[in-house]
C-alpha cells in the first residue's frame, strides 16, 4: 500500500498562537492560521465515501496502486471470529517503511499518486485524492496497519478513530500508537487451472519478511453489519478492477467471508461475457492463424462463435524492408507462436444489459483495463496497454481511429482504443526474438515486435469487419440506390422534350391567350433543355478531370511500388559504368569492358521506359471519352510493366480478346495498372511460383455491352472477412517493420471510383489456377 497521507503532524509555523488569557502579546500583529478539528477529517472522509462496500473498494484500489498482484479481503462477522468481528485487507504490494508511514501515510491529503500517476507495474493509479485511508474509519473504529517494504524493517501502528470524534481536539494532537509486533501473513495469487477451468484454492500465505513485502489493514469494532447483499455488491465492485483474462498474473482479488460462501474465492470479471465481440486468435510457428470471433446474439446473452482459419499472409501483409520480401510463414517463425484475445466494448446500454452492471460500471472497468496488454508467461510486460503513457497505445489505435473516425455502419469502421481490452500472450522460450529493453520496460523495437504489431492489427481488422457486418445486418433499412446525376439529367431531358412536343402539338387547338402563355412555357423548356445539355457536357468534362486525377494517383502508386526497380536500375547503371572505368584503367580485355557498357545501356533504357510510362498515361488523346481498342490499351500497359515483373521473377501471362468500346482510355489504364500493382506486390508475398495472369473479354451485363478485365495472381489471396472492405479508400493490409500501415489504401479505391462513375461492377475471388486473388472489373461501353 503506498504512502498517501498523514493524520496531521503539527509543524512550527512561527510563535505559539495567542489564546485568551495570555498577556503582554500583541495578538493583532501575529500571523493567523487555520487549525483543523479532528472531527472535520472524519466528516470529510465519511462524506466522500458512499457506503461500506465502497470503503472496501477504496482500500483495495490502494493495493492496486501499490503494485499488488493479489489482495485478500477477509470479512468475519460471526461470533466466533478471532477477537470479534473484523475486516482484514492484505496485499503483496510494495509496502511501506516506518518513514513512509510517518511522512506519507500519516499526512492527510498527501498522494504519491499525484506525483507519479503510474505504478512500477505501469498501472494508471486509481486514486489521487489522498483520502483512501480514511475509508478504514467508515468500516470500523479501530485500525491496525502492518506493513513491510522490501529490505526494510516492518512497521505498524494502531489508530483509534473514536478519539478523533471528541469535539474540539486538534488533529495534530491525537497520538497514533505504534503496534508491539508487526508480523502478518502475505497472500499469494491463486493459480488458474486450465484443465478444470477455474482457479485453484488459495496457496498457503507466507510470513512477511525483508524479501516478502505487503501491507495488512485489520479493522475492528465494525460500524455496520454485513449481509449477503453487501458481500455480493462488494464482489461486483471489485470485479471491475480485475482484468477479464483468467490466466494472467496481473491483479487478483480474493474474498474470504463468513456471510455468503458463494462469494468466496477469486473475483472474476463479469465483463468477459459483456464484450460485443471477442476475438481469439492463435498464430502458430508455421504461419497459420486460427481463431474465433464470438459475439452475443441480439437481445440475449447467447454467444455465437464464428471460426476463422487463414494463413498469416492473408491476415496481414507485412513488408519487411524496402526491396526485400519475406514469406509470411517465415515472418511467423521469426515471431514465434502467439495468442491474442481482444474484447470490444461499445459504450452503450446493450453492452451491460442483463449483467447487473450499468454504464458507469463499464466506464470504470474500461478505465482500469482498456488497452492491449502484453503478457509474457502470464506476467504483464509494461507499459503496453497503459492508457496515458507514451507507449501505452503501442498499436497507435488512437491515431488509427483519429485518421478514420468512421462509425460501425461504414465498412472502414475502426474501434477506439478506449473500447478495447486486449491481451497478447507470448513466452520467453517460445518468442526468443521479443527481447526486453535494457531498462526492463517494454520490448526492443525489433523486427519481431513489428510482426507482433502487424498480427494484432490483422486480428483487430477481422474483429472490426465482423462488428460492421453484425451492425449493418441489425440496422438494415431497405433503400433504393440513388440514381447517378447523369441519369437524372438524361431523364429530365427526355421528359422536357416530350413535354415540349406535346405542348407544341396541342398549341393549335388552344385559344390565343393560352397559346401565347404556352409559347412562353415552350421557350422556357427549350432553354432548360439547353442548360441540361450544357450540364451533361460539364459532367463529361468533370469525368475527364476525374479520370486525370485518378491517373495521376495511379502513377504515384505505381511509382511507389515499382520505385525500387527504378532505383535498382540507376544503381546498376552506375555500378557497371564504374566497373567499365576500372577495367579500362587496369588494362583489361576490351570485350569485358564493352559487356559492362552494354549492361549500362540496357539499364538506362529500362529507367527511361519508366519515365515514358508515367508521361504516356496522361496524353491528351486519352482525356476524352471515345471509342478505343481496349485490347491495345491493356497490351501497352502490360508491355510497359513487363520489365519490372520480370526483374522480380514474376511470369506475366495475357489473354486479350479484341474489344472496342467508348470509354476513357485513362480509366481502363487506371484499372489495369492498379490491379497489376497489387498483383506485383502480393505475388511476391507467397512462396509459390510468382505468376500474374491478365484476361480481357467482351461481356454483357444486365443487357449492357461492356468488357471484363480480370487480373489473377499467385499471392496469398484476400481473406473473406475483408473482401468488402478492400475497396474502401485508405483501407490497407500492407504494414512495415513496426506494424504501421504502409499501403496507401488508394489503388483499389481508385478502381472502385471508376466502377461507380461508369456504373460498372467489380468482384474479388480466389483464382483456382494460380491460388491467389482474382479481381474482376466489368466496365460498360458508353457508346452501346
Amino acid at each position: 500500500m503506498p504512502a498517501t497521507g498523514s493524520l496531521g503532524t503539527t509543524d512550527a509555523r512561527g510563535p505559539a498562537r495567542g489564546r485568551n488569557g495570555w498577556s503582554g502579546i500583541d495578538f493583532s500583529a501575529m500571523p493567523k492560521y487555520f487549525s483543523v478539528d479532528a472531527r472535520a477529517m472524519l466528516t470529510w472522509g465519511r462524506e466522500s465515501i458512499k457506503d461500506h462496500t465502497t470503503a472496501v473498494l477504496e482500500l483495495v484500489k490502494n493495493s492496486y496502486d501499490a503494485n499488488a498482484t493479489i489482495v485478500e479481503v477477509e470479512i468475519r462477522t460471526g461470533l466466533f471470529a478471532d477477537g470479534g468481528p473484523y475486516i482484514r485487507i492484505v496485499d503483496d504490494g510494495v509496502g511501506m517503511s516506518a518513514s513512509d508511514v510517518e511522512n506519507h501515510w500519516l499526512r492527510l491529503g498527501y498522494s504519491a499518486k499525484r506525483e507519479d500517476r503510474f505504478t512500477a507495474r505501469g498501472r494508471r493509479k486509481t486514486g489521487e485524492k489522498g483520502i483512501g485511508r480514511i475509508s478504514a474509519d467508515r468500516l470500523g473504529s479501530i485500525l491496525e496497519l502492518r506493513s513491510q517494504a522490501r529490505l526494510k524493517p516492518a512497521t505498524g501502528l494502531r489508530v483509534d478513530w473514536s478519539e478523533f470524534e471528541e469535539p474540539g481536539r486538534d488533529i495534530g494532537k491525537i497520538p497514533v500508537q505504534d503496534l508491539p509486533e508487526f508480523a502478518f501473513e502475505v497472500p499469494r495469487p491463486s493459480r488458474w487451472d486450465e484443465e478444470r477451468r477455474e482457479f485453484s484454492s488459495a496457496p498457503t500465505p507466507a510470513a512477511n519478511s525483508a524479501s516478502r513485502s505487503g501491507t495488512e489493514l485489520l479493522i475492528r469494532d465494525l460500524r455496520q453489519t454485513w449481509d449477503e447483499q453487501d458481500i455480493q455488491e462488494l464482489r461486483r465492485l471489485l470485479s471491475l478492477l480485475t482484468p477479464p483474462f483468467e490466466r494472467v498474473d496481473d491483479f487478483q482479488v480474493r474474498i474470504d467471508n463468513d456471510v455468503d460462501d458463494a462469494c468466496n474465492g477469486v473475483v472474476a470479471s463479469p465483463l468477459l461475457a459483456a464484450a460485443a465481440i471477442e476475438a481469439r486468435f492463435t498464430l502458430d510457428a508455421r504461419g497459420s492463424v486460427k481463431g474465433k470471433l464470438i459475439h452475443r446474439a441480439r437481445g440475449s446473452r447467447r454467444r455465437i462463435e464464428t471460426s476463422v482459419s487463414l494463413p498469416f499472409n492473408q491476415l496481414v501483409h507485412p513488408k519487411p524492408r524496402p526491396g526485400v520480401e519475406t514469406s509470411s510463414s517465415e515472418l511467423a517463425q521469426r515471431l514465434g507462436p502467439v495468442t491474442s484475445r481482444l474484447l470490444f466494448y461499445p459504450q452503450k446500454a446493450e453492452t451491460v444489459r442483463g449483467l447487473d452492471l450499468d454504464l458507469s460500471d463499464l466506464r470504470e472497468f474500461l478505465q482500469a483495463n482498456a488497452g492491449v496488454r502484453v503478457y509474457r508467461d502470464s506476467i504483464r510486460v509494461p507499459p503496453y496497454g497503459d492508457q496515458g503513457r507514451a507507449e501505452g497505445d503501442w498499436l497507435a489505435l488512437g491515431d488509427r481511429k483519429a485518421r478514420n473516425p468512421a462509425g460501425p455502419n461504414r465498412p472502414d469502421f475502426r474501434v477506439s482504443p478506449y473500447q478495447l481490452v486486449g491481451a497478447v500472450f507470448i513466452g520467453r522460450d517460445t518468442n526468443p526474438e521479443l527481447i526486453d529493453t535494457s531498462g526492463r520496460e517494454g520490448l526492443v523495437a525489433g523486427e519481431a515486435l513489428g510482426i507482433l504489431k502487424s498480427f494484432l492489427i490483422g486480428c483487430l481488422t477481422q474483429l472490426e469487419a465482423h462488428y460492421h457486418k453484425l451492425f449493418t445486418s441489425a440496422n438494415k433499412t431497405p433503400s433504393e440506390p440513388l440514381p447517378s446525376p447523369r441519369d437524372t439529367v438524361d431523364e429530365l431531358r427526355v421528359q422536357l422534350s416530350e413535354l415540349a412536343t406535346t405542348i407544341k402539338k396541342t398549341e393549335e387547338t388552344l385559344p390565343p391567350s393560352v397559346s401565347h402563355q404556352m409559347s412562353q412555357v415552350v421557350e422556357q423548356l427549350v432553354s432548360t433543355t439547353e442548360k441540361l445539355r450544357l450540364a451533361e457536357k460539364t459532367f463529361d468534362e468533370l469525368g475527364s478531370q476525374a479520370a486525370i486525377s485518378r491517373t495521376l494517383a495511379t502513377i504515384g502508386i505505381a511509382a511507389a511500388t515499382f520505385g525500387h526497380e527504378t532505383q535498382r536500375g540507376l544503381d546498376s547503371m552506375r555500378a557497371t559504368l564504374e566497373t567499365a572505368r576500372l577495367l579500362l584503367k587496369n588494362g583489361e580485355d576490351t570485350r569485358e569492358i564493352l559487356s559492362e557498357l552494354d549492361k549500362a545501356v540496357r539499364e538506362s533504357e529500362r529507367v527511361s521506359a519508366w519515365g515514358a510510362f508515367a508521361l504516356g498515361r496522361v496524353r491528351r488523346d486519352k482525356r476524352v471519352r471515345r471509342v478505343v481498342d481496349v485490347a491495345s490499351v491493356v497490351a501497352a500497359v502490360l508491355d510497359e510493366i513487363l520489365p519490372a515483373m520480370e526483374a522480380s521473377s514474376i511470369t506475366l501471362s495475357r489473354e486479350l480478346d479484341s474489344v472496342r468500346a467508348k470509354i476513357f482510355a485513362m480509366d481502363v489504364e487506371c484499372v489495369v495498372i492498379n490491379l497489376l500493382t497489387n498483383a506485383y506486390y502480393f505475388s511476391k508475398q507467397s512462396s509459390r511460383d510468382r505468376r500474374v495472369a491478365v484476361r480481357l473479354r467482351a461481356k454483357s451485363n444486365a443487357g449492357r455491352r461492356g468488357f471484363d478485365v480480370i487480373v489473377a495472381d499467385s499471392g496469398p489471396g484476400v481473406a473473406k472477412g475483408i473482401q468488402d472492405r478492400i475497396w474502401d479508400p485508405l483501407f490497407t493490409t500492407k504494414t512495415d517493420d513496426s506494424g504501421k500501415a504502409i499501403g496507401t489504401g488508394l489503388g483499389l479505391a481508385l478502381i472502385n471510383a471508376v466502377v461507380l462513375d461508369t456504373e460498372g461492377a467489380r468482384a474479388v475471388d480466389v483464382d483456382s489456377k494460380l491460388g491467389g486473388a482474382k479481381f474482376s472489373v466489368w466496365l460498360p461501353d458508353a457508346g452501346a
Binding site: R321, P322, G323, V324, E325, T326, S327, E330, H564, Q567, R568, L570, D571, S572, R574, A575, T576, E578, T579, R581, L582, L583, N586, E588, E592, S595, E596, K599, E646, A647, S648, S649, S687, D689, R690
Partner: protein
C-alpha cells in the same frame, strides 16, 4: 588455393562484381594466391556450405536481396539474412561481406557481417575494399588450417590408442565443427561401426557353423 565466393541472384550483377574482384586481384598481383567463384544462391540455405567447401572459399560476398532474380527458375525463398544466420550458426568467424543497393537499410538491419558495401560504389572503392576482403579471408584460412592441424594430431593420438578422454572429446567437437566441410571424417565412425557389426555377424555365423559341425560329428 583459397577463393572469394560471390553469390547473387542476378547473372549480370554477379558477373560485374566478379570482374571487379578479378581485375583488382590482378592489380594487387594476388591472382596466384586467390581465385574467384560466383553462382546464384542455392535452393536451400544449408547447401551453401557444400558450395563454399567445394571451392575452398574463405570469404563470401553476397547480395542482400537474393529472392528476386534467377530468371526462368524458381526463386529462392530466403534473403541473405537467413543465409548469414545459417553460416554464423556453424562458422561464427567466417568472413561475410554484403553488396546491396539498399546500403543504409542493410546497415541498420544486418549486424553480424564483416562489412556492407553499396552496389553503385563497389567498383569505385575496389582498391580499399578488396584488400579488406583478402585480409579477412587469410585470417579465416589460417584459423582453419590451425584447426585442421590440431584435428590431425588428435586423430593420430586416438588412432595410436594414446589419447586421453579430454582429447577424444576435443576431437569429437572438432569433427562436429568440420562436419559440413569434411564429411569423410565423420563417416569414419560410421564405417568403423559398420565394420564392427559385420564382424559380430561373421562371428555368430562362425559359431553356428562350428556348433553344427560338432553336432554332425556327434551323430556320426
Amino acid at each position: 588455393m583459397p577463393s572469394i565466393a560471390i553469390l547473387d541472384d542476378r547473372k549480370d550483377d554477379r558477373e560485374t562484381i566478379g570482374r571487379v574482384v578479378a581485375s583488382t586481384l590482378k592489380k594487387l598481383k594476388e591472382t596466384d594466391s586467390w581465385s574467384v567463384v560466383s553462382d546464384e544462391p542455392p535452393s536451400k540455405e544449408r547447401d551453401v556450405f557444400h558450395w563454399l567447401d567445394e571451392n575452398d572459399a574463405t570469404v563470401l560476398v553476397t547480395d542482400w536481396k537474393l529472392n528476386e532474380g534467377a530468371k526462368g527458375k524458381r526463386v529462392v525463398t530466403y534473403e541473405a539474412d537467413r543465409l548469414i544466420k545459417e553460416i554464423r550458426g556453424k562458422r561464427p568467424t567466417f568472413p561475410i561481406f554484403v553488396i546491396t543497393g539498399f546500403e543504409s537499410e542493410a546497415r541498420a538491419h544486418l549486424k553480424d557481417v564483416e562489412n556492407i558495401f553499396s552496389r553503385k560504389d563497389f567498383a569505385k572503392n575496389a582498391d580499399t575494399v578488396i584488400p579488406q576482403m583478402l585480409r579477412a579471408g587469410l585470417r579465416r584460412y589460417d584459423e582453419q588450417r590451425q584447426l585442421l592441424t590440431r584435428m590431425d594430431s588428435l586423430a593420430r593420438s586416438v588412432a595410436g590408442g594414446k589419447a586421453s578422454s579430454k582429447q577424444r572429446k576435443e576431437l569429437k567437437s572438432l569433427q562436429g565443427y568440420f562436419q559440413a566441410e569434411l564429411p569423410t571424417i565423420v563417416n569414419v565412425d560410421a564405417v568403423l561401426s559398420e565394420f564392427e557389426t559385420a564382424k559380430r555377424k561373421a562371428e555368430s555365423i562362425r559359431k553356428k557353423v562350428e556348433r553344427r559341425i560338432k553336432k554332425t560329428k556327434g551323430t556320426a
